[in-house]
């Protein structure tokens, strides 16, 4: 058990955890940050996706200790002053979820994609998101939501 300070959504959260414990486990079980979900524990489903220094990261596959000092963004950190991010708003507008368990991972994967590729082709979206599973099968709407988020950002002059 080592003391650990994690920078989560701009807040410094203090806890203690073993060196090997995954970021997902520390976030969910020690810090009560439950936006990232457990789905498989092997990086196959993407439900646990967070951003580490803006990069898509499977939080079940990295230790919390290894990302101490990095900027960790979870779904809880995307709203700004009560306003949804473009991607969140687009998922809501498109109704791009059913049970919603995959949604936080999907939104973070899309957020990272649009940061690097503001106007992605359909193939680019599919390639970037293929590691995220939605068992309810809402992929067509998620695809539309990512395209809508891209347009929202363009309209706001963000890109």
């Amino acid at each position: 058990m080592g003391d650990l300070i994690l920078n989560v959504n701009g807040r410094h959260l203090r806890t203690s955890a073993p060196e090997e414990e995954s970021l997902l486990s520390v976030l969910r079980n020690r810090l009560d940050v439950t936006g990232p979900k457990y789905g498989c524990g092997e990086g196959q489903c993407g439900a646990c996706t967070v951003l580490v220094n803006d990069r898509v990261t499977r939080s079940c596959r990295v230790s919390a200790a290894s990302v101490a000092g990095s900027r960790i963004t979870t779904i809880e950190g995307l709203e700004e002053n009560g306003k949804l991010s473009d991607v969140q708003q687009a998922f809501l507008d498109e109704g791009a979820f059913q049970c919603g368990y995959c949604t936080s991972g999907m939104i973070l994967a899309a957020t990272a994609l649009l940061r690097d590729t503001p106007d992605p082709t359909e193939d680019q979206i599919v390639d970037a998101m293929n590691g995220n599973l939605c068992r309810c099968g809402t992929y067509p709407r998620i695809l539309q939501a990512v395209q809508r988020a891209s347009r929202l950002a363009a309209q706001r002059g963000v890109r």
Binding site: R28, Y38, Q44, G95, C99, G100, R135
Partner: protein, 722 residues
Amino acid sequence: MSDPRLSLLDANEDLPRSLCTRALEPDRRGFLKMLGGGLLICLTHPSARAQEAGRTFGGHELPQEISAWLHIAADGKVKVFTGKVEVGQNIRTSLAQQVAEELRVPFDSITMVMGDTDLVPWDMGTFGSRTTPTMGPQLRSMAWAARESLVQLAAQRWNVDARTLTAADGRVTNPATSLVLTYGELTRGEKLVRNVSEADPLTPAVEWKIAGMPIPKANGRDFVTGKHKYPSDISRPGLLFGAIVRPDGFNATLASLDISAAEKLPFVKVVRDGDFVGVVAPDAWSAEQARKSIRAVWDVPPQPSNHGLFEYLKANPEDDDESRPQHASGSVADAIASAEVKLEERYTVQYIAHAPLEPRAAVAEWNGDKLTVWTGTQRPFGVRDELVEAFHLAPEQVRVIQPDMGSGYGGKHTGEAAVEAARLAKASGKPVKVVWTRSEEFTWGYLRPAGLIEIRAAARRDGTLVAWEHHNYNSGPSGIASPYNAANQLIQYHPSKSPLRQGSYRGLASTANNFARESHIDGLAQAVGVDPLEFRLKNMTDPRLRAALEAAADKFGWGKLKSTPERGLGIACGTEKGGYMATCAEVEIDPATKHLRIRRVVEAWESGAVVNPDGLQNQVMGAIVQAIGGALFEQILFANGRILNQRFAHYRLPRFKDTPQVEVVLIDRKDLPPAGAGETGIVGLAPAVGNAVFAATGSRLKTMPMAPKVLASGEANPSFQS
């Protein structure tokens, strides 16, 4: 029968529906007091019984109590109570729309209280596409009765004829005087007793203003912000984390156990009760380390494997009342003996897993002898019964709360994690959370049944079907009835002793039975040289299914496009649980590599009046995408009591890259009552795809999955792969 309240029930026994504001069973009284004043609409048991008409549940005694369904507070806010649960199928929204419609209140004024056994009326569970056809009318009736009561209250206050008043937007208006009373004002301090025996004058769908509209998911914002708490997200003060030591195979017995290493770990407690061995720790990581440190040796008896599975299912019948012909007419044998064209085939489906993205999870907390469990289940009252039995409690000592969960698809009828968490919580004296690992979910849940289906059929050269014989071994009777006319028929389901634990699944056997039937019909059409759509229409009279077929074919462009060796076009149709669907698929095939990919799917869907077109589109589209897995590559591999592919890395599921262009055509029959739409949308994809492959290549795929990389035998698949 000494309780005086029961005599009230008896007095109302003959009425079709009885409404009141009194006589609640003791354990719900505190809750109802908590709601304060206002109007409360209750229902006696005759309708509660009718709600699950035609269903039985393991001798469970149906509830005899009066239950509250709807409460209007002084501020006009409406709470609706139902034992149905939200798992992504969008009933939190669609039920609220129906209540808002009949009650004449804004949609936003309604809060649905769902799946909390202390707060809602008893309910069998959320399965079988029953919510829309049963709970919908039930709540609409309650809402209508509430509206009637409110209008009468206003009439009394104003001393006018109730028929001259109108109710809209949460208020009663007297058009003659322009006086207005809000529902909240009317309910303040009032108590009502009301019996209703006339037929329901519910609002017809053509007049709907809130129901029938594409209203977005009620609490959608909580899902894009991460605020929604799923069962596995629940925390309690002093929470401990539990983990269970699992047997090394099915039907195993514990031979030896060494817990000494675990007991040396700080703050870890090992709980043992017979063959149940679990651990609790202050954090999840320590609980997992403790579980891993326990050395358990299990005796696992030899058991069947995928090899020879279908012969095993046929050779091992289960004695069951269901084992009789579902349909028998004429003589199939005579008709086939003299037939011009005949076709006999054998179709198989493998076991598949539900793989809900949220595995089973529960948090259990004891307060004295009262147990509260938060868990993900489609049957909160069923899980309550499991807990009552496991801990020898009275039902009122157990509360099960079901937060909207990470879905189930029929896979979460049971309460394993709830019982495990409660055991560990009892032993440790603290609240305990148990979240199954993915491997546990694959291994210790239950599966969609595997099945063998044998069909023989005959037709005349002019394309008239004359004989149809369909036997299903193990996978189940749903969807087994044929929508095609044939004078000679024998249709039978044969239950088997399944080597693996099996249970409900979205669409259940309907997928297997439709796959076999629609593949076979396609084969017959080809054998007589008639277009598959034309062959179906020629032999079918059901106007709703014909309409679905024609709508799908029209949207798809059936007849305008032609199959080639690189591009196959297929069609299939079916009806089950009040839903009518037809599916067309376009499949791209590489003749050299035999690699196939589904390019485009059109499904026409009709389930009566549409309650929420946006939710319904989403549901049917999701069913089509989910169906790709079972159609092309999902299969459970097992041997000797062990699941071999118990990880997502080894169990392929549909992803973005597998998803075709999907078009759903909704047929809104406002003249017909709404049916459930959660399941039957899944059944058309596999046969449509199989028929498309046949149209392109002449190869008939008769096994589900149709295109896995590896066969269930473990050999590489030499045929089509996806």
